[in-house]
């Protein structure tokens, strides 16, 4: 991290050969949070990008070492706050795997539906923010209108709009709201009507296409080498959907396609997310009418103690492969916990992707990486 005097020095001095060093962030409209990029420019062309992290680092990994296995789940909501539900699921799955807790089918179904709703909500927000990065302000509001329906569903069932805290080891905290199924169906109907709007406004727009096509290209080899996951890697043609590779909950039972594009540019990443929303809708449609009756939470002990050993759980969040790695000594708290966040690896590819492009391209590239800063800093 730069200390204060160095930052001032950086903004006033030219680098060697007339390079311009610009501090983009930590307060910049396009970094969506407190990401700090030190961008070396040659005119408008980017020569080097160096991310400086840690502005929102809370050392969640250290914090979790003093929390019990029931408590640590809710800290993860604050990491990738746009897919907090999926993060919670990952932690719950890990505890269930470690302690061999049976999860009732009903809970698994509801978890899957909520996970997919979270994914749609996250992608909706991303479309809005991404369009805003490229200078189109209006799609943001249209995307938020649909997202609002999801947050309403979440509010009804989970009691909160963003950090849901609804998953407990063994199932759900309480049963779904009686209106849940109807509301989800209403959402699906509205979503299908309105998703064409993005096509008119954004996807087919000639300016948007020229801004994103061929911009920020990431080859499949680089995507693997940089550890990219989620839509970023799938846009480069890497099959990496954890829901397919290592299915959890009821993903093994539902039919859906892993969306893969091969171009590897910003437009491909955009298309992957748009198509992924449709796949999520497909999953929800298969499950929403067949939620089985029964318990919503399995039988668990009052005090959870993971056996001695190491556990790893991977899930697919809206941004990619989220991993929880716990080393247990047999106590009520983890000995060491590591969160493998998708954003951290995706960000490391940014410099490679944006080198040699224009400042405007950096916004398109960064926008399509879908960075959530608390997820990167943890």
């Amino acid at each position: 991290m730069y200390n204060q005097t160095e930052i001032i020095k950086d903004t006033t001095e030219l680098g060697p050969e007339g390079e311009l060093v610009v501090n983009m962030g930590p307060q910049h409209p396009a970094t969506h949070g407190v990401l700090h990029l030190v961008v070396t420019l040659n005119g408008e062309t980017i020569k080097k990008i160096e991310p400086h992290l840690g502005y929102i680092h809370r050392s969640i990994e250290k914090m979790c070492e003093s929390l019990t296995y029931r408590q640590f789940i809710y800290v993860t909501s604050r990491m990738d706050y746009l897919s907090s539900h999926i993060n919670n699921t990952a932690c719950a799955l890990l505890v269930e795997k470690g302690m061999q807790i049976e999860v009732p089918e009903r809970a698994q179904y509801v978890r899957t539906i909520l996970n997919e709703l979270t994914r749609i909500a996250s992608h909706e927000l991303w479309i809005g923010a991404m369009a805003m990065d490229l200078g189109a302000f209006t799609p943001f509001f249209y995307a938020f209108r649909e997202r609002e329906m999801i947050t309403d569903i979440m509010e009804d069932t989970c009691g909160a709009r963003l950090t849901m805290n609804y998953i407990v080891p063994g199932g759900l905290m309480y049963d779904i709201h009686p209106d849940f199924q109807n509301k989800v169906k209403a959402f699906i109907k509205q979503f299908k009507e309105k998703v064409t709007e993005y096509e008119d406004l954004v996807t087919n727009n000639v300016i948007f296409q020229s801004r994103t096509k061929g911009v920020g290209i990431l080859s499949a080899e680089d995507a693997i080498s940089f550890g990219c996951t989620g839509p970023v890697a799938r846009a480069s043609g890497v099959s990496c959907d954890i829901r397919k590779i290592a299915p959890y909950d009821v993903y093994a039972k539902v039919e859906f396609d892993e969306v893969i594009e091969t171009a590897g540019d910003s437009f491909a990443r955009y298309m992957v997310r748009i198509k992924e929303m449709n796949q999520s809708i497909r999953i929800i449609e298969q499950l929403i009418d067949t939620i089985p009756e029964g318990d919503f939470v399995g039988k668990t002990k009052n005090v959870l103690k993971l056996p001695k050993g190491e556990f790893y759980q991977r899930v697919e969040t809206a941004r990619g492969d989220f991993g929880v790695y716990i080393v247990s000594e047999g106590g009520t708290t983890p000995y060491r916990i590591k969160f493998r966040s998708p954003g951290f690896s995706n960000l490391s590819a940014l410099s490679h992707m944006a080198e040699g492009s224009k400042i405007g391209d950096l916004m398109a590239t960064m926008g399509t990486l879908d960075l959530v800063i608390p997820d990167i800093d943890r």
Binding site: M1, K62, G227, T229, V238, S239, Y325, Y335, S345, S348
Partner: protein, 150 residues
């Protein structure tokens, strides 16, 4: 590839490896000095461990352990590689030119655990301030000002 085949292949490259199959995936513990050669070997055919999805470190109070979670995007088999390091002078060869994602992860481990990665291209602090003292994720780290004991 089954675990047995992986074992055979790895043993042919690094004879001193010990295995542990109690967990979900095959765990191997290696000498820190052998890691770079083994890393180069397992990225090649037939293992093709091309995807390093998690890199972290454990503090066992007596020693540190580097943990590498690897998978193959072609064959989908996973292995976990562990290397023990001495607490006083932890150092291991970097793998950032083999898996480029390791560059950031190693920088994180460097500042959080104080592990030195030899030949790392840019080993600086990534998250913490430059003048930060101590290694926060080690077990003996104490910060009486900012840490609240509950």
């Amino acid at each position: 590839m089954t675990n047995e085949e992986i074992k055979v292949y790895i043993s042919s490259h690094a004879p001193s490896v010990s295995y542990d199959e109690t967990g979900e995936w095959l765990n191997l513990t290696i000498e820190a000095a052998e890691w770079k050669d083994l890393a180069l070997a397992i990225t090649r055919s037939p293992l093709k461990m091309d995807y390093l999805f998690c890199l972290t470190c454990l503090d066992w109070k007596t020693h540190l352990t580097m943990v590498y979670h690897l998978t193959s995007t072609t064959y989908r088999h996973n292995i976990v590689v562990k290397a023990n390091l001495i607490l006083d002078k932890p150092q291991i060869e970097t793998v950032s030119e083999i898996w480029r994602t390791a560059e950031f992860h190693e920088r994180e481990v460097f500042e959080m655990f104080g592990v030195h990665f030899l030949n790392h291209p840019d080993l600086r602090k990534l998250i913490l301030e430059e003048d930060f003292k101590g290694f926060p994720l080690r077990k003996d780290f104490e910060d009486p000002i900012n840490m609240i004991k509950l």
